[in-house]
């Protein structure tokens, strides 16, 4: 990644950048911070962890890293929990202390849940590792009678989307072709020749966007030659074919176009 020019590439920033890119999401970042400082997940010092979390988020922003919205939501959540923890507990609440929910509880539950699935993912990984070391027999004759693919509803949807896109493209090409007429092309070439006395024919073809356009250019050149508006010259055998302006007055005559429209 290229750092913005006004951003000093300090060691500290580089350090954050490396670390930051590792985190999948805010929960991963929090788990990392908890582990790094050997914090008891059931008793998180929320002020400290919020500060640490915000340091990373700020570093990310300074480095102009696209911040996933989830990181900011979590920052807001942490600040909210912190402010709740700072509120003095009223005497009535204190008497029912047992019933007052710890503001951190929900976050802790989410972190624990997330950690469980991370562990589950690791188990899945090692299972896949074993299965990748297992091979089944090569295809035999009886398999060859059925060289087809199995499908799910997802295949059906993505297939339908592809068909629609394919049709859309085809229709767009057709529309583009409709717009392109021989008369237009002739006008275009005449225009070019009014600026320059000669032009190489291959140059005319170079800008063609489709096969149809190539055919139209070809027809236009033939037509212009037939009408003696341009002359075709070849300086050497198999050399470059040059179109030269022959009848300037005709080239400028707007009525001359009428015949082709």
């Amino acid at each position: 990644m290229v750092l913005p020019k006004n951003q000093p590439d300090t060691l500290a920033n580089a350090h954050y950048k490396i670390k930051l890119e590792v985190f999948e999401g805010p929960l991963d970042l929090l788990l990392y911070l908890i582990k790094k400082d050997e914090i008891d997940i059931y008793d998180i010092p929320i002020a400290y962890i919020t500060e640490e979390y915000l340091k990373y988020v700020r570093a990310m922003q300074e480095l102009d890293i696209d911040l996933a919205g989830e990181f900011l939501v979590m920052a807001a959540t942490l600040i909210h929990i912190k402010s709740k923890m700072l509120l003095p507990i009223s005497s009535t609440q204190a008497s029912e202390l047992e019933d007052v929910a710890d503001p951190r509880q929900e976050l802790v539950n989410r972190l624990l849940e997330h950690k469980k699935f991370k562990a589950a993912a690791e188990t899945l990984w090692s299972r896949a590792e074993i299965e990748q070391a297992v091979f089944t027999r090569a295809p035999i004759d009886s398999d060859k009678d059925n060289p087809e693919i199995a499908a799910t509803i997802f295949d059906l949807v993505s297939m339908f989307k592809k068909i629609l896109e394919r049709r859309k493209e085809e229709i767009q090409v057709e529309i583009a072709n409709d717009k392109l007429t021989l008369a237009q092309k002739i006008k275009e070439i005449k225009g070019l020749l009014s600026l320059k006395e000669q032009i190489s024919v291959s140059e005319l073809f170079n800008n063609a966007k489709s096969r149809t356009e190539i055919v139209i250019i070809f027809l236009a050149v033939l037509e212009l030659t037939k009408e003696s508006i341009i002359g075709l010259v070849q300086t050497e055998t198999f050399g470059e074919l040059i179109a030269t302006r022959r009848d300037i007055s005709k080239a400028y005559d707007p009525l001359a176009n009428q015949a082709y429209t």
Binding site: S126, E129, A133, V157, S158, M159, K161, R166
Partner: protein, 187 residues
């Protein structure tokens, strides 16, 4: 057992024999002794040859459904010919839950545009779909749904109950639309 233990070769008396068997099993052509020796280049080819002939005797002396035979200059594992009857019966009854790409495309059009006629399917897919439609009718994934009130009164097709079952849908309203997958299909 630890992952490392599962993936590491055990120290048995002749660790080569099971490897030979595994190689013959996975090969898509009869595998030649020469090829085996190339794979096991650390081993003595003479020894490999000896172990292979031991393996053949051992493999074929079991009361097994498979056999290990030399064929076209190589070695291959196949079923024993005497069990052909049951195998044929199995291959015939095998429910093929599979469809060709053309059939699948046609099915997608019918599912999303039903009731729809063959000319309309042609219009959307850009290619003729007659044989795909035959397959889908044979597999009971689609059914005729009356005729369209237009010139030629072509038959309209729609999906069947079997279609819902095979694709795990309660009813047609459960059919996901493109918007449902928009985000996933985006790139």
């Amino acid at each position: 057992m630890l992952l490392e233990e599962i993936l590491v070769k055990p120290m048995t008396r002749s660790p080569i024999k099971p490897i030979l068997e595994a190689l013959i099993f996975v090969a898509d052509q009869p595998i030649q002794l020469k090829e085996i020796c190339q794979v096991l280049s650390d081993e003595d080819p003479k020894e490999i040859e000896q172990i292979l002939s031991d393996l053949v005797i051992e493999f074929n002396s079991r009361d097994s459904g498979m056999e290990l035979r030399e064929i076209a200059g190589g070695w291959r594992i196949s079923t024993r010919p005497c069990y052909h009857e049951a195998i044929r019966r199995y291959l015939k009854t095998k429910p093929s839950a599979k469809l060709s790409l053309a059939s699948l495309e046609t099915l997608a059009v019918i599912a999303y545009k039903q009731p729809v006629t063959i000319p309309e399917i042609l219009e959307i897919r850009g290619v003729s779909s007659s044989s795909a439609i035959k397959t889908l009718l044979d597999r009971r994934l689609i059914i005729p749904k009356g005729r369209k009130d237009c010139v030629g009164r072509p038959i309209m097709y729609g999906t069947s109950k079997e279609f819902l079952i095979q694709f795990g849908l309660k009813d047609l309203s459960e059919l996901p639309n493109i918007e449902d997958f928009e985000e996933l299909l985006a790139n």
